[in-house]
């Protein structure tokens, strides 16, 4: 389970990845550390620039807002102090999106997990120093207070509230964007479910666990991807 991922689809960028979930496909490219414009230069850390391009048309205020959200997440993931006075440039191109008519607030929040996951995979592919592993999930709460992880379009269109959360492998909440109509109890339940799903995505898959909860949301999809990537990276040793 988990989204479809391909590593390093772009030859020119330092790091790149595509990720397709049931709602969005995102192509992410990372360049860095590269030279930074004088006015953006930070004396003690690397500047992070995120560019988001929508599937059609050019970006507007909506993309500026999404960029600022993604930048803040990446800043807490990257070890920015290791490359002072440089720039880490992340470009996120949306390639497909939901076809159903969604409310704007729902649409904005539903895209965030895909953007964060894509950006993270591209950072890994680019070999940038990271302080933690981050996973983002989307959750929707229906009118009957049923919480669903990775909701389908239909569930999103009729949901009461929608939540995008990102957790590190230790279960620290890095990002929360919730909109709709909800109360604190609902949010706490959502946060619990999201934390479990995010931690499970990078958890060591022991056989007991898989027997106990072989559910879709508990699949360590991100760990599998990263392990596979690490194996590919050292494959040359086996050939020599």
């Amino acid at each position: 389970m988990g989204p479809d991922i391909s590593h390093h689809p772009l030859a020119g960028a330092d790091g790149s990845a595509t990720i397709s979930s049931n709602l969005y496909s995102v192509l992410a490219a990372v360049n860095g550390p590269i030279e930074v414009q004088r006015r953006d230069e930070l004396p003690e850390e690397a500047a992070i620039e995120v560019n988001i391009r929508p599937a059609s048309g050019v970006g507007g205020p909506r993309e500026r807002w999404l960029e600022s959200v993604v930048t803040a997440v990446l800043r807490s993931v990257l070890l920015v102090h290791m490359h002072p006075r440089t720039l880490i440039q992340v470009t996120l191109q949306l390639t497909t999106g939901p076809t159903l008519k969604l409310k704007n607030a729902t649409r904005d929040i539903s895209v965030l997990p895909s953007l964060v996951n894509a950006a993270f995979l591209a950072l890994v592919d680019g070999g940038l120093p990271l302080q933690s592993t981050v996973t983002a999930v989307l959750l929707a709460v229906s009118g009957e207070e049923v919480i669903s992880i990775d909701p389908a379009e239909k569930e999103l269109a009729g949901c009461k509230s929608v939540h995008a959360l990102a957790y590190t492998q230790h279960g620290d909440l890095l990002l929360n964007e919730s909109a709709g109509n909800f109360n604190l109890e609902v949010w706490e339940e959502v946060a619990d479910r999201a934390e479990k799903a995010c931690v499970a995505a990078v958890a060591l898959a022991s056989e007991d666990d898989e027997m106990a909860n072989g559910t879709a949301e508990a699949a360590p999809w991100l760990r599998r991807e990263l392990e596979e990537k690490a194996r590919d990276a050292v494959a040359w040793r086996d050939h020599t």
Partner: protein, 336 residues
């Protein structure tokens, strides 16, 4: 030998910096020194949970349909609402009939907020510059919240017309009400002084301005095929907002760094940060709380980015503080 010794001045040089110099040179340790006292106090004298006192002045712009000036500490925001008529026949792609009433405002874009920071309100935003990332994302967050909170009722914004029954009309020909035009509200937000927490103040200014918005009586004149407005203020009607959504922002000051073990780091959640604190805080949380009633559970929006200090426990505390803040704003704004 210092210069004082050389010319024999009696005053010994100070061993510490004055407050302002310390704040300028090392803002981080300066704030940290304040917060790590027995009773944490921020550099501005407030306790971490203290919000600044809001003041609201309504109807200060005479030529707009509604306006408000909101001041929260040293942040001052002017908001003006201008109503324009959008003819239904001018809409290039009229929404299909199955669009729900609630979605109509978003679908047609009847609320157009725009925030201007390039007014000389702070040294960080040069006057006359094009809107930067911050201004654009603030505008977008306000637009998104306006649409998601269903604050303005679509019936206030539609200009209806009842088609008279024609004499030769068959039984199917009934008096039918159609929307001939809509009011579009241009909500212009000007920041005239900026000392942190723009979003809360700007959002409150939007609410106050919309609460005071008066729309003239408008009707469709079938003979002239145009919308006519009444100049009489007695006939004009004040817009009715549903609920009172209030935004409360928190910032987190943390001594965490990648060079230090996480357990050694201290952090404080600061309510209603000013610009000095905003500079030093990477993590932010905005809670938007609406009126609690049947079918409305209270929270409309939770936005948190930039760090990992606010988890479930801190979130509970922040939501509680946001509830208190909501009551404070309700006292100032009324309504809700």
């Amino acid at each position: 030998m210092g210069p004082d010794m050389a010319n024999g001045a009696p005053t010994a040089p100070g061993l510490s910096f004055p407050r302002e110099t310390f704040a300028k040179l090392t803002p981080g340790p300066f704030l940290h020194a304040h917060l790590k006292q027995q009773e944490p106090t921020r550099a501005n004298g407030r306790s971490p949970e203290d919000f600044r006192k809001p003041t609201v002045n309504i109807g200060s712009l005479t030529h707009s349909n509604g306006s408000a000036v909101v001041r929260v500490g040293d942040t001052a925001i002017v908001c003006g609402v201008r109503a324009e008529i959008l003819l239904a026949s001018d809409i290039p792609h009229p929404p299909r009939d199955d669009v729900e009433d609630d979605d109509m405002i978003e679908e047609l874009g009847l609320l157009v907020p725009n925030i201007e920071l390039s007014t000389g309100c702070s040294p960080a935003h040069l006057p006359g510059n094009a809107p930067g990332t911050l201004a654009q994302s603030l505008s977008y967050r306000i637009l998104s919240l306006l649409n998601a909170s269903n604050l303005v009722s679509p019936s206030d914004l539609s200009i209806r017309y009842t088609k008279p029954q024609t004499e030769d009309g068959g039984p199917s020909e009934e008096a039918r009400e159609v929307t001939k035009a809509y009011w579009t509200l241009y909500i212009d937000i000007l920041c005239i002084a900026l000392d942190g927490n723009t979003f809360d103040a700007a959002w409150a200014a939007v609410i106050a301005a919309l609460q005071s918005t008066v729309l003239p009586k408008a009707w469709w004149d079938a003979d002239r095929e145009a919308i006519l407005c009444s100049p009489l203020t007695a006939e004009a009607h004040r817009m009715q907002l549903s609920g009172l959504p209030i935004a409360s922002t928190f910032a987190v000051f943390s001594t965490a760094s990648p060079l230090k073990r996480l357990e050694e780091a201290d952090s404080w959640v600061l309510a209603d940060p000013d610009s000095f604190e905003e500079e030093l805080c990477k993590e932010n949380l905005t809670v938007v709380m609406g009126t609690k009633h049947a079918g409305n559970d209270g929270l409309l929006r939770l936005e948190k980015t930039g760090g990992s200090v606010i988890g479930k426990v801190a979130m509970q505390r922040c939501v509680r503080m946001a509830e208190d803040r909501w009551r404070e704003w309700k006292g100032v704004l009324g309504g809700g």
